[in-house]
């Protein structure tokens, strides 16, 4: 995160100096040079930003979702509430500008549902079982979100057959490592990768 920030700062410094020669005195040249080299190594970078705009819109939502599942896997309902709160905020901030009419409709539906579930998880910091009930539906929303919009990176759908009186439930994760958010430490590694999403 810090690196990213420095990168962005350096990049804006470059842009700024390109338009304003007076800025040379205040710009750190070595950092600037380094940033330029990095950019040369990734010729697609500037071009692909706009192409990936739809997929990267959800990066933050997913990061907080991940935070939430990890917290539940650790049986930490306070932390889960924090994750859900941030996730709710990220959901509301998603930039819908590039969406088609159909996408807007799908997202509005998903947004309303995810908002409800994140609110319940946030409001139940002392009731981890209830948080988990909402995670189940929230995970379905996340799955559909990934299917509809793509999330910009590979994702795994992991299924735990025992949750909810053996009806089973799934969650999404960035890696194949099973950290069960439904049972937590009681049965941390219960679950199997069911699908790889892209």
């Amino acid at each position: 995160m810090k690196l990213l920030f420095i990168g962005v700062a350096a990049a804006s410094a470059i842009l700024f100096s390109a338009c304003n020669s007076n800025a040379d005195k205040t710009t750190d040249h070595s950092a600037m040079q380094h940033e330029m080299d990095t950019m040369k190594d990734m010729p697609m970078n500037s071009g692909s930003t706009s192409n990936n705009a739809t997929t990267s819109k959800f990066t933050e939502v997913f990061a907080h979702y991940q935070h939430l599942t990890f917290a539940l896997a650790n049986d930490d309902s306070k932390e889960a509430a924090n994750g859900a709160k941030s996730m709710g905020e990220a959901i509301a901030k998603v930039d819908k500008s590039g969406f088609t009419a159909d996408q807007q409709k799908s997202y509005a539906d998903l947004e309303a549902d995810m908002k409800e579930h994140t609110e319940h998880i946030t409001g139940n910091a002392n009731n981890i079982e209830h948080q988990r009930e909402h995670l189940e539906t929230l995970s379905k929303d996340m799955y559909d979100l990934t299917k509809t919009f793509g999330i910009g990176k590979p994702m795994y759908k992991i299924f735990c057959p025992m949750y909810n009186n053996d009806k089973g439930a799934y969650w999404l994760a960035e890696t194949k490592e099973v950290k069960n958010p439904y049972f937590g430490q009681k049965m941390l590694t219960c679950g199997e990768v069911q699908e790889e999403l892209k």
Partner: protein, 148 residues
């Protein structure tokens, strides 16, 4: 001194009686769109009417003491909260995804005996759901969940 406080107290009680919260009633006793869309049978509808609609629809059957403040205010608050979470008058207008979420939550709340609320049951004894009632309602809502 004690007398003054007492008089003040009584006066306050009298004054607040004039501040009546808005009633939750649309004139429609049952949420028609819900009935038309989800087709509950009479038994299910009766259970819902008795145990749920007071706080989860646009029509509350008010007991007489609603007119006594601050009881009426507390009730109004309760009903607002209840309708925010679930309103049977609005269920039919929701998307499949939203309906499914609501039906799942309803089933779980009933199953875990979290609803109807204990405080509500304390006053409305006939709103209590026995095991058979619970099963009937849960089956009804589960059957309405659309998995497509």
């Amino acid at each position: 001194m004690v007398k003054r406080i007492l008089i003040g107290f009584v006066l306050t009680i009298i004054v607040i009686q004039f501040i009546q919260p808005a009633r939750n009633s649309t004139g429609q006793v049952v949420p028609q769109s819900f009935i038309d869309t989800f087709l509950p049978n009479d038994t299910v509808l009766n259970l819902l009417s008795n145990s749920c609609f007071d706080c989860h629809s646009n029509n509350t059957k008010y007991p007489w003491y609603t007119n006594v403040q601050p009881i009426g205010w507390l009730m109004a608050n309760h009903i607002n909260d209840g309708k925010k979470e679930l309103n049977f008058n609005e269920l039919a207008a929701l998307s499949t995804r939203r309906r499914n979420s609501k039906f799942k939550s309803i089933s779980q709340q009933i199953e875990q005996a979290k609803m109807p609320l204990k405080s509500y049951l304390f006053i409305h004894r006939n709103a209590a759901l026995n095991e058979a009632d619970k099963k009937l309602l849960i089956n009804f809502f589960q059957s309405k969940i659309n998995n497509n």
